[in-house]
Symmetry: C2
Subunit: 79 residues, 2 copies
């Protein structure tokens, strides 16, 4: 069973990496850009046939290792 | 108009970062993990009301700056 996880910074957390991308884009001529924020993306494949169990496991993986819950949000999707 | 962009490594490209995550997870006791691959995620907001124009612009941003087309794939979604 395959899941995608996107991890994004919470709204009020500064995103220096995104800022650099934004500045670079305006330097090379993209003016209509309003904002850009960068996050992380994971594709997780799990040996588990029961969907709710698999989702629970992915959730645990996120909370234990992939995500810093103080500054980040995450979203799990089945793919 | 807001778009999400996910950038993933192509299938045959090694993913050392994902490998480290995978090893760490098996070290802390997750055995049912089959594979995990890491990518990048962007949230792009653009000052443009026409959707097809906006999508074209996001596409250009990806190809010019965000994505290395030799080793990476990308996917754009409207959010």
């Amino acid at each position: 069973m395959k899941f995608s996880v996107t991890v994004t910074l919470k709204k009020d957390v500064l995103d220096p990496q995104g800022k650099v991308v934004q500045d670079t884009l305006s330097n090379i001529g993209f003016n209509s850009l309003k904002s850009i924020r960068q996050g992380k993306f994971f594709e997780i494949e799990i040996n588990e046939t029961d969907q709710s169990k698999a989702e629970k496991k992915v959730n645990e993986i996120c909370e234990k290792l992939l995500v810093n819950l103080i500054i980040e949000n995450f979203k799990i999707n089945k793919i």
